[in-house]
């Protein structure tokens, strides 16, 4: 039985390696509705047990209480609210269909304002006062990384939080955190590799924000360029409170790089590109995947044109039937097309529901057991999600897109990043 299970896991992993966002694009899947996850991707080997006897907080005969701490106000509220809407969309669908075995989902999202200090308070409120069963989703790296010790100490299953901190999240260092997003190391590894392949003689500059995010991007870029015998020609550093990007643009112009990679906060990217345009310097620009969100594109319509970005979710203009179904259904329910951050929340909640459906019992231990045996779960907007008892990175694939005429166009399909 154990060997059969290993074979199944191996087959699932092979599926992940061959991943593409056009997965399952068959006539059978060309349905115009978004199916509620049914736990079918989870296959728990017989003989594997979990603690079913402990009384789980947040679970009653008619309710499962899930929580998230995420920025709902403040400078990062846009992504936080977007992902929150995406999760609510899924939980509302589940509840409208009668819930999970008669239990409705109650989702409590508390505002941490993207602050580590507030996140510390809110996670305690969620766990100790609201008595949630598990954490589902949320946005933000510094706020989430700050509460990792608390999550670890209290063994709270935490599913799909968008906190791409390399080395801290998605590893066995924090075994209760189940990651489904690529880190900035992966994003910039893939996009630097793409530039090195497609533009072999180009010179490259990096404008990076000091701190973990910038360092992760730098690490990913250097690793990719080294494979091609290349290096970054010039690195400029900045910080989040910069308001005048003209001197930086001037420096970049003098460097004269063909490509400028930017890893700074979104409004900074818009202003930096605007400043470069202002002084007549128009290099090719690569940014993090966050800049594929509609809110960024509408805020910087001229600046965003032509930028190249990694992608962490499927392009919403994709012809893939599952993506189309999500876009159409979300639009019908909410009266507006989904944004990239809505899609992030959708994927987070789908993984949570899949694990809840498959858990042998509604205890935290059993929920984690289900997560650890999730193999090739398809959200439709992410490559298949596969965890294992020894892996907390459910998927780690990055594609390449370009903004053309205000629309995010997929340039190359996602590839698995090691």
């Amino acid at each position: 039985m154990k060997i059969r299970s290993m074979l199944r896991q191996g087959a699932a992993m092979a599926g992940v390696v061959g991943v593409s966002f056009t997965l399952g694009a068959t006539a059978a899947n060309a349905q115009s509705f978004v199916p509620i996850p049914d736990g079918a991707s989870v296959s728990i080997p017989s003989g594997t047990t979990c603690n079913m006897s402990t009384e789980a907080p947040g679970v009653s005969d008619d309710l499962i209480k899930l929580g998230a701490f995420t920025p709902l106000t403040g400078p990062v509220a846009g992504p936080g609210l977007g992902a929150f809407e995406g999760q609510e969309y899924v939980f509302d669908k589940v509840n409208a269909a009668g819930g999970l075995n008669g239990r409705k989902i109650k989702f409590v999202a508390l505002d941490d304002q993207y602050s580590a200090a507030y996140a510390q308070q809110q996670v305690r409120r969620l766990v100790e006062r609201e008595k949630i069963f598990a954490i589902s989703g949320g946005i933000g790296t510094p706020n989430f990384v700050a509460v990792l010790p608390y999550i670890d100490k209290n063994q709270i299953p935490s599913i799909g939080m968008y906190a791409p901190a390399a080395g801290k999240v998605g590893t066995m260092k924090n075994p209760h955190v189940y990651m489904i997003w690529p880190s900035f190391v992966s994003e910039f590894n893939v996009i630097a590799d793409y530039v090195a392949r497609t533009d072999p003689d180009a010179s490259i500059a990096l404008l990076m924000q000091s701190g973990d995010v910038g360092n992760d991007a730098l690490q990913g870029m250097e690793a990719a360029l080294e494979r091609h015998g290349r290096k970054i020609d010039k690195i400029l550093r900045t910080e989040a409170t910069t308001t005048d990007y003209l001197p930086i643009a001037q420096q970049l112009k003098e460097i004269g790089a063909d490509w400028v990679f930017m890893v700074i906060q979104p409004t900074g990217i818009g202003q930096a590109i605007g400043s470069m345009m202002k002084i007549g310097y128009n290099p090719k620009v690569a940014t993090p995947s966050d800049e594929t969100d509609e809110s960024f594109i509408s805020a910087f319509p001229e600046e965003v044109e032509g930028i190249t970005t990694p992608t962490k979710v499927a392009a919403l203009t994709s012809d893939d039937p599952k993506v189309r179904a999500f876009v159409e259904d979300f639009t019908a329910v909410n009266g507006k097309a989904p944004s990239m951050w809505n899609t992030v929340g959708f994927a987070q909640a789908m993984v949570t529901i899949e694990a809840l459906q498959a858990a042998p019992a509604l205890t935290r231990d059993c929920l984690e057991l289900a997560l650890q045996h999730m193999q090739g779960f398809e959200t439709g907007v992410l490559p298949p999600v596969t965890f294992s008892p020894n892996s907390r990175q459910g998927t780690n694939a990055v594609g390449i897109a370009r903004v053309e005429d205000g629309v995010v166009v997929q340039v190359s399909p996602p590839v698995l990043v090691q």
Binding site: L236, E239, D244, P247, Q250, P266, Q271, S298, A299, F300
Partner: protein, 292 residues
């Protein structure tokens, strides 16, 4: 470094410094007549920009009219802050005005987030598309508008303060409101005019800043911090010195970012303050303390 680079950095620094100066003017005016450090000043300006943006974008109001209405709203909000909050809390005791203006700042932020959503918006370009290149130096009409606006506002202010009866009343209230009242000056009316004017000037600053960055509930904060730095170092009860420091800060930042990188910008600003306070003659510091 080439000449055009040096000029480009200088013009960019002048524009940034002028924006700090425009934010600072209202802070100085309010401090003069009320002895209040108004932390809500930036957010009052932000309200003007938000109002103008939503009136034009969602209600089709012509941009010029929307901007005028935005400034009117900022003037009204500033006036109401004085009438409803400041004039009451200052009676409680010293220090409460600081807490009150911080409270107003957070209140306005929360209201705007609630009404306008916390997203960032692309504001009107206000002349940024009218571009010039002279001697290899790029600038646009928006940059010129910032520098000219600061000069015009300062000129008008000097005219009003030094050549009109209202200016005399403002200066009298600034020196001693009680004595001014005994001479027949309507102190409350003078305060109302100054708070409203400061609100409108904050609106002008916020609208110009929004045209250069992006509009959201928080975009004024870094500019407010720089304005306060210039105000505190230069003296909140003066005009020329703090304004010169504000413009100088913009120039310093521009050159520091170019030579040392953006990481060095904030350390350089605070190093300058430490050096200034360390080397300034003690007479200057005593002067700052002793002025009413």
């Amino acid at each position: 470094m080439t000449l055009d680079t040096a000029l480009q950095l200088t013009i960019g620094g002048l524009v940034s410094g002028s924006l700090y100066g425009l934010v600072l003017i209202g802070i100085l005016l309010i401090y003069r007549v009320s002895r209040v450090v108004n932390f809500a000043h930036g957010q009052i300006g932000m309200v003007a920009a938000m109002c103008a943006f939503f009136l034009a974008r969602h209600f089709g109001v012509p941009i010029a009219v929307a901007l005028g209405l935005g400034l009117t709203v900022a003037a009204l909000v500033s006036y109401l802050v004085d009438i409803l909050v400041i004039s009451r809390v200052t009676k409680i005791g010293p220090g409460f005005d600081l807490i009150a203006t911080l409270g107003v700042m957070m209140f306005l932020t929360a209201i705007v987030e609630l009404v306008a959503s916390p997203k960032s918006f692309k504001f009107f370009s206000l002349g940024a598309q009218i571009e010039f290149t002279v001697l290899g130096v790029y600038f646009n009409a928006n940059d010129l508008a910032v520098i000219v606006t600061l000069a015009v506002v300062l000129g008008l202010l000097a005219l009003v303060l030094n050549k009109t009866g209202l200016g005399l009343s403002i200066r009298a209230v600034a020196i001693n409101p009680e004595i001014a009242r005994t001479t027949g000056i309507n102190v409350q009316a003078v305060r109302a005019i100054v708070w409203a004017a400061a609100g409108a000037i904050a609106g002008v600053a916020a609208i110009l800043i929004a045209s250069k960055v992006t509009l959201n509930a928080f975009y004024m904060t870094p500019f407010l911090v720089k304005a306060f730095v210039a105000g505190i170092v230069g003296g909140l009860d003066r005009f020329v010195r703090p304004m010169a420091i504000a413009v100088g800060l913009g120039l310093l930042e521009s050159w520091v970012v170019y030579w040392l990188g953006a990481d060095a910008r904030i350390p350089a600003v605070f190093l300058l303050i430490i050096v200034l306070l360390g080397v300034l003659p003690s007479k200057y510091l005593q002067d700052l303390e002793q002025r009413p």
